[in-house]
């Protein structure tokens, strides 16, 4: 099992969710986050006072999947969240030791 963490542009979250449902992903967690990378921040102006905003709003998706689905999920996220502009985000993949469904106690792939 792998845990796929994707940081994407907020307005792309619906497209990504649709694409993932299409390939059989049965659940994910979405969090609104802020951060910065190569895109850096931007400036905002309030009554003449200029502020540099370092942290930009992004959406973080956490998706636990069986090993067999990893490549398809990465492919789906890359194709739908891609705008070609700087700031499209990143995908991190980590090993997942165990998953447990709280209601039934099922474990492993069964719980996903």
């Amino acid at each position: 099992m792998k845990l796929i963490t994707a940081i994407i542009k907020p307005f792309k979250s619906d497209d990504v969710r649709e694409a993932l449902s299409g390939i059989g992903v049965s659940g994910m967690t979405l969090t609104e986050v802020k951060g910065f990378g190569r895109q850096k921040g931007h400036t905002e102006l309030y009554r003449g006072a200029e502020y540099v905003i370092d942290f930009l709003p992004k959406v973080r998706l956490e998706i636990a999947v069986p090993d067999s689905l990893v490549d398809q999920v990465v492919e789906a996220i890359c194709s739908t969240a891609n705008t070609g502009q700087i700031g499209d985000g990143k995908i991190f993949i980590t090993n997942l030791e165990q998953a447990i469904r709280i209601r039934t106690g099922e474990t492993g792939d069964e719980a996903l």
Partner: protein
């Protein structure tokens, strides 16, 4: 000519009539004008609506999330205590029957002698008094913008009470209650000096005495909710119809003209501010649009009984341009933390409007003509009176405000919260509450 004069200073003339004929005035209950009474009751509601919730929301949206409730609470509490102060002594000081040119005396404390049938002109005295009370409420509430996010609640409340008692009530008497500025012929239809110069100058002095907020100009201090500010600002625009057109104290042509010029100045001020930002920074901002609107409204306030519709265009334009540059100058160059720009928008707007009223009231300016000068007044003499009014009110306000801040600091052991409390935010520090639970 009488009509013209009535258009210029109805509050003053009315006050003189009441002062000269108190017994006659209270005996004329048969002369009640229903239309006028209905309009001034409506205006009373509109002007209260400007503070609760208009100004409160406008200000609350401009501060940080952790201070939103404290600002709402400051405005609300001011409305509460000033209402009671108005009942106890405020109405008497501002509009009492004393022959002094500086205050109205104490004869009308606790609304002494005011009954159902008491009349003020052709409207009930209760209605006149309640209408004026809403002006007394919004003026100290305007000052809140200067000290948000760092003042102790106790100090704020005590200062607001004493300030209204010693600055607002007397100045209202000088201009509208038959006092010396009104007798000189100062044109201040709805409060350019009484409301905006007093509030603006008090804000400037308060900001200087209190000092900058932690992180001023070094850390980002963005408005936490501009949607809230937009909502409040829009309410201010609507409520201002009661503020200015209600100041005619009648449902007549003067009220109609005041309403029209008020609206046009607001629109012009908003557009002006937007265009300047567009030219200077590439984009017009929402905050800029509503700030320009307030500037246009503050500027037309003293002139709203004197200028014509085309004159209002010039008033709004002047307010927008001058207040824009004043705001930038004060914050970025002089670095005074008048946090929500009360002085550059209201104070400067009030000064510009009071000055322009002395010029644009002239009926010899072609399309820009106003209602014409009072008998015996010329442009030169009127402008001198206007300048006298501005300087006198500004200097008096500055001195008394400074003294009061020092006094309050002694009583409440300092007027400012500690650095730690400021970082935690006033919602928790002063009220043990938070504005949002998310």
């Amino acid at each position: 000519m009488t009509m013209t004069m009535k258009c210029i200073t109805p509050k003053f003339l009315f006050a003189v009539v009441v002062l000269l004929l108190p017994t006659l005035a209270s005996a004329q209950e048969g002369d009640l004008n229903g239309a006028n009474t209905a309009w001034i009751m409506t205006s009373t509601a509109l002007v209260l609506f400007m503070t609760l919730p208009g100004l409160s929301l406008f200000y609350a949206g401009l501060v940080k999330t952790k201070n939103v409730l404290s600002v709402l609470m400051q405005c609300f509490s001011i409305a509460v205590v000033i209402s009671l102060l108005w009942l106890i002594v405020g109405y008497s000081i501002a509009f009492g029957p004393s022959e002094s040119a500086y205050w109205g005396g104490l004869d009308k404390m606790f609304f002494s002698g005011i009954v159902v049938d008491s009349m003020a002109g052709d409207i009930p005295e209760t209605v006149f008094s309640a209408f004026q009370m809403t002006f007394a409420i919004i003026t100290p509430a305007l000052v809140v913008g200067a000290f948000v996010e760092r003042i102790k609640f106790s100090a704020m409340l005590l200062f607001s009470v004493l300030w209204t008692l010693l600055v607002y009530f007397p100045v209202a008497n000088w201009v509208w209650g038959g006092g010396w500025l009104g007798q000189m012929g100062l044109i201040d239809f709805a409060g350019g000096t009484v409301v905006h110069v007093t509030a603006g100058v008090a804000a400037l002095v308060t900001a200087l005495v209190l000092g900058q907020r932690e992180g001023f100009l070094t850390k980002p201090m963005m408005p936490h909710n501009l949607t809230m500010s937009f909502t409040g600002a829009a309410m201010l625009w609507v409520g201002w119809f009661g503020f200015n057109a209600g100041s005619a104290l009648a449902a007549d042509g003067a009220a109609g003209m005041a309403l029209l010029v008020t609206h046009m100045s607001a629109a012009t001020g908003a557009l002006t501010w937007m265009l300047i930002e567009w030219l200077k920074h590439g984009k017009p901002s929402g905050l800029g649009a509503i700030t320009g609107m307030v500037a246009g409204l503050a500027t037309i306030t003293p002139a709203s009984g004197s200028v014509g519709p085309a004159g209002a265009l010039l008033v709004g334009l002047s307010g927008g341009v001058i207040c824009y540059f004043a705001t930038n100058y004060l914050k970025q160059v002089v670095r005074i933390d008048d946090s929500l720009d009360v002085f550059p928008v209201h104070g400067v707007g009030g000064i510009v409007g009071t000055f322009l009223a002395g010029i644009l009231v002239s009926d010899r300016l072609g399309i820009l003509s106003g209602n014409g000068y009072a008998e015996g007044m010329s442009m030169g003499s009127q402008v001198m009176v206007q300048l006298t009014g501005i300087v006198a009110v500004a200097v008096y306000t500055a001195i008394v405000t400074f003294g009061l801040l020092k006094l309050v600091a002694v009583v409440t052991s300092g007027i400012r919260v500690t650095t730690d409390q400021e970082q935690v935010g006033l919602d928790i520090t002063d009220h043990d509450e938070t504005g949002y639970s998310m």
